[in-house]
Symmetry: C2
DNA sequence: GATCCAGTCTGAATCGATACAGAGGGGCGT
DNA sequence: ACGCCCCTCTGTATCGATTCAGACTGGATC
């Protein structure tokens, strides 16, 4: 049997409260007695107050949860997610808090249960997918949370940190449109649930599954509408799972069609890099060369010469955690919109008539 | 006031136990009553049993801790650590467990407290530094743990997953020695506490601070001893913090010396990449070219053409977590030694007389 | 008709601590 | 000598659930 606080109290001959104070409120007892208590604890092998019991009584846990919709193991393969986590980590360690990574099982019921059972004081919701059900649970638990998606209804009680997805996407699409490209493909993660990799048809961007995707597609569409290219003229490609592999699969055969796109706008750098990879693998390349753009500007993008939109990944994580750990008193300060920047590199070039 | 289990019980007119059973042991009551209870809970906004209270009573938490000696934010910049985490994540998500990342403050007392207060059922100890104090706390708490360092005393109760550091290091050093290099520098993280970046003197590898470093230095030394190069003839370089930046700083000025080393053996890929970077920055390069080796074989190493020793990072994490989550009944199975493999790439070449 | 049993539900004990009001004693001002 | 306050320490209530032995009910068995 592991020793409890009571055991230490008995050993020293004081009350439980006093032993508790020795650990948590040293100013409440004489330092002589405190030393005596700690010595006895050491001698008994008492490892300090049980964290769970302490949390129950105190009403807080000392850790915040990070929620990913995608599998936890995928999150670590996405450089953007990793940098986001680094930001959260930096904030928590400054604050003396731990971070709990909560994997969400595929099954809805189990996933729900996972959020209900997480012992945390709040959540950073980093989701690409539809997260409403998770937010419902979090709200029911009365826990604070920060979302990384700009809420479409902008409910005043929501704290979030994010970017203007639509404007950012528009900037990179405008760059490509400005280069003269008119036959373009848009490649995004999981446009529709369970659709295989490859072309899909969607009546409009607003039918995309995830809010973030919707925003980016909207921005892409905006820029091309401006140069007279309608939504229906754009090729929409689905990549199930945000991976280079899915991207390669999605563009398979695309450039062997009669009138192939001359540019591919990807919804993330990881996807764009997958496209570059697929292009590099083609024995004879493509004529004319295909322009490719990404989104996020992960470290790998620079090395690959990928044109993309930069958003501050680590900042995003850091701010998300900080909004949670010391909430701004001013309600408006809870809504943080980060800057984005178009980064032009070698992966885009002027449209060339084939 | 958030509703408690008791509130739901009162609302339905049953006992607390029955409500508890509705959530945790559905077979203990009629499904009609269960539905009635869940409906009432929904209506009251009861989010299910409080995780902390449940943990206290049940005696387990449903999450495992991952302990890094280095700062949590650094961990995410180290590709090897990230892949390790990915492995842990994969195992936990299969098991329906969460992972708690515990940042360790610089101050010893606070760090100790952090380990004492972590609400977890066990620990994966991923440390590069001296971790004995942490293991002491974990043992005192009676929690199981898996270490990634092969324990020097191989106490039977320890579970670990790791590699034969010495043999692995020896293999890459033998490769370099076989290429004819005799004036070599060994570059490792934090050989001595608080030493600045750059050359340090050490009576022998056994005086290095961290066990992992000791093992690798030992392997390097072994290979060179075999070709008649004594420990004292090797240049030892300290890089405080396992970062490319520290590595660059450590080799600053090194190649402008009268008789510069013709090879640098780094204790990690991150350090080796930093050296390559520093070399690339030299306006006139080096004559003869310097051979550089790393350790780990992170994804970036392949792109950089770095000769290194591969160890299965993700596997290491996965196995560590699995050893924790379903402990092998056979004690011997708790000791897992992973294979390593010398990967020769372009960063090493034959010694050339200058 | 007595016995047994499976299926439901209850009540008290318990997990391991913290909070808070208050008791007791010693020093200090007047 | 008295009152007051401060410093220590104690005792009890409480955090929100789970556990487990047992009570009750209705029907099947012999």
């Amino acid at each position: 049997m592991k020793p409890t606080l009571q055991a230490v109290a008995d050993a020293v001959g004081v009350s439980r409260s006093t032993v508790s104070n020795a650990y948590s409120r040293p100013d409440q007892l004489s330092s002589a007695l405190r030393e005596r208590i700690l010595a006895a604890a050491r001698q008994l092998g008492y490892p300090g107050p049980n964290p769970t019991a302490r949390s129950l009584r105190r009403g807080f846990v000392g850790s915040i949860g990070v929620l990913f919709t995608s599998q936890l193991s995928y999150a670590f393969t996405d450089p953007f997610a990793v940098r986001f986590l680094a930001g959260v980590g930096a904030a928590t360690e400054r604050h003396g808090t731990s971070m709990l990574l909560v994997p969400l099982p595929r099954a809805q019921t189990d996933a729900r249960r996972a959020v209900e059972n997480a012992a945390v004081d709040g959540f950073c919701v980093y989701c690409v997918a539809d997260e409403e059900w998770a937010l419902d649970v979090i709200r029911a638990r009365g826990l604070p949370y920060v979302s990384t998606a700009v809420p479409e209804d902008a409910a005043a009680d929501k704290r979030f940190v994010g970017i203007d997805e639509r404007a950012a996407a528009r900037s990179v699409a405008a760059h490509v449109a400005g280069l003269g490209h008119r036959r373009v493909a848009l490649l995004v993660d999981s446009v529709l649930p369970d659709a295989p990799a490859g072309p899909v048809t969607l009546a409009g961007f607003e039918h995309a599954r995830h809010p973030t995707t919707r925003g980016r597609l909207a921005g892409f569409a905006d820029a091309f509408a401006e140069v007279g290219v309608a939504w229906s003229e754009l090729t929409l490609l689905n990549a199930p799972g945000n991976s280079g592999h899915a991207a390669s699969a999605a563009v398979a055969g695309l450039f062997d069609r009669p009138e192939p796109p001359t540019a591919v706008l990807a919804g993330s750098d990881v996807l764009a890099l997958g496209v570059l990879d697929a292009l590099a693998r083609r024995p004879n390349g493509t004529h004319p060369p295909v322009s490719v753009t990404g989104f996020d500007d992960v470290p790998e993008a620079a090395a690959a010469g990928l044109t993309t939109v930069r958003q501050p990944a680590q900042e995003k994580g850091r701010i998300a955690a900080e909004l949670l750990l010391d909430p701004p008193t001013d309600a408006a300060a809870g809504h943080v919109l980060l800057p984005t920047e178009l980064v032009v590199r070698a992966s885009t070039g002027p449209h060339v008539r084939s």
